[in-house]
Amino acid sequence: MAQVIGQIQQSNFIPKKWQIINLVALLIFIVFPFVAGTFQTSLMAKLLLFGVLGVSLDLVWGFTGILSFAHGVFFTLGGYAMAYYLKLNLSATANNYGGSIPDFMVWNGLKELPWFIAPLQSFPVAIVAMVAIPAGFAYAIGSFIFRSKVSGVYITVITLAIASALTTFFVSQQAYTGGTNGITDVSKLILFGMVVPPIGIYFIILAFATLTLAGSWWLTKSNFGLILRSIKENEQRISYLGYDVASFKIFIWTLSAAIAGICGGLFVPLNNFISPVYLGVTFGTQIVIWVAVGGRGTLFGPVIAAILLGQLQNSVDRITQDWQLIVGIILMVVVLFLPDGLMSLLPKKLLASSPNNLEKN
């Protein structure tokens, strides 16, 4: 009987050719900063980071079916944690006002550092906050929306509301958040007593991207990933098999927010500022576009899309200001002609690794 089916592959099996392609891609990314200039290195680091942000959304949207416009929020929360740290560690001479508190606080009449921001002077606290604040926030709203009977498009509407509400909140709390400008002119990232150069940040981001992609691949190929995909297809059915759907959704939602938060944290030393722009629906939509163009449920697709669209924007920017129009047209073309995104252009065999593939002998 068993011979009929033959070998059942391990669920986290990675096809050989795909492994090789990934290794080659990783090598290219390792060599890239030594070939390209500083500008391209920093741009590529940023696009990689945006790609990973897309991966975090892909986990909840592509695999679990929860469309979120709030991933910019998680990204920005992580970003602010890092930005406070870098701002508070400006040396007194580098600080225009020479004071012990950041310039925007001085302008807004604060005399001393607020107690809830003060701990972020410490690097370990900032690192923990970069993950824990977005994850904790996601856990709180996730527990609320997934335990209630809210589903489908209503969840998406709630994420839109969260993005708008937080933007307004951050803009209004100028003394604490720097208002519309956000936190600017932050110090360079210093690790082990050395200023980390752009190429160093590039490699930190590359390592983070590699780990996240590998980890997400492993997770989505596990039994857990199978459950996510069945929640996406029919969440009621799986509850009759004894699975508590809400706890699975809350877990992946929180994990996804944690990844987005780290992306935000790494974005600040690269970008030198963070502002409420990244909280908003526009940036949230941008993340959705990377996932849609790259291919939902593909993990690699959003990274490819973020890099291609980012490079395209960089080239088109020199010719016209209307690059968003071009992105819009690309999105329409993809939705109409490539509903499964750029990754669907790859030969199916390459990725044929659905868990528990039963191959005949």
Binding site: F224, L241, G242, S354
Partner: protein, 254 residues
């Protein structure tokens, strides 16, 4: 009670109301250990609603459902499933985008928590269990195929396979043979009889041939109430049943 002293599933005076419409108006049902209870009744009698209420899909307005003496009324679906009640739906409720194998794997009895599912390995024991289920439902050759590519009858089998893998103490089957050929229907009946050697089974069915093949005790629902219950011949000779089914071929032929 027929087969057992204590019933494993016990429904007491169950009422289910959908925005004013009384779908169930106080139904009682006892299911014994390793017993097959077959529910028949015209469309709209409340048969599926009864199963929906048992698995926590439809909210219960009043009355109680007891499983092994425990009150499970209005508990969450996943808790009820974990306690040991499995359900097959009227239309095959299977995962079309997944392989037959994955569908069975998802249904396998075991710990269904978040972290245990991340750590879960496809052990030899699990593999053997899945293969034996696939063999049982005759889909061993199609194990690797996407469910979407199967016929309607085969999808019904996949869902029966899921129930087998789930291995619940009480199996609820809603029209398990809908869309099957006569041969497939007969084979399904034999599987249900085997299941009933170690499980309690509640079956909703229309096909009287099939009912006669499997039935031990028949319950007739009509307009949200229990009309009567008893053996196949008792039910068929009941004047109230004949009235409800008047002109219906199934009972006439029976």
């Amino acid at each position: 009670m027929i087969n057992s002293e204590v019933s494993i599933l016990s429904v007491k005076d169950l009422k289910v109301v959908f925005s004013g419409f009384k779908a169930l108006k106080g139904v009682n049902l006892e299911v014994g250990n390793n017993e097959i209870v077959t529910i028949i009744g015209p469309n709209g009698a409340g048969k599926s609603t009864l199963l929906d209420a048992i698995v926590g899909k439809s909210p219960v307005a009043s009355g109680h459902i007891y499983y092994q003496g425990q009150d499970i009324t209005n508990k969450s679906s996943h808790d009820i499933a974990r306690m040991g009640i499995g359900r097959k739906f009227q239309n095959p409720n299977v995962y079309n985008e997944l392989s037959v194998f994955d569908n069975i794997l998802l249904a396998l009895k075991g710990s269904h928590g978040v972290f245990s599912s991340i750590k879960a390995k496809l052990t030899a024991a699990k593999k053997d269990k899945i293969i034996s289920v696939l063999d049982r439902i005759g889909l061993l050759e199609q194990g690797y195929a996407k469910v979407a590519s199967l016929s309607h009858g085969q999808k019904q089998w996949v869902e029966i396979g899921m129930v087998l893998a789930q291995d619940p103490a009480v199996v609820l089957l809603d029209e398990p043979t809908a869309g099957m050929t006569a041969d497939e229907t007969y084979a399904t009946g034999e599987i249900i009889k085997t299941i009933a050697t170690s499980h309690s089974v509640v079956v909703i069915e229309h096909d009287m041939e099939f009912v006669k093949q499997i039935a031990q005790r028949l319950v007739v629902l009509h307009q949200g109430e229990k009309l009567t219950e008893g053996s196949v011949s008792e039910v068929q000779s009941n004047p109230k049943v004949i009235e409800v089914y008047l002109g219906r071929e199934q009972i006439d032929a029976a």
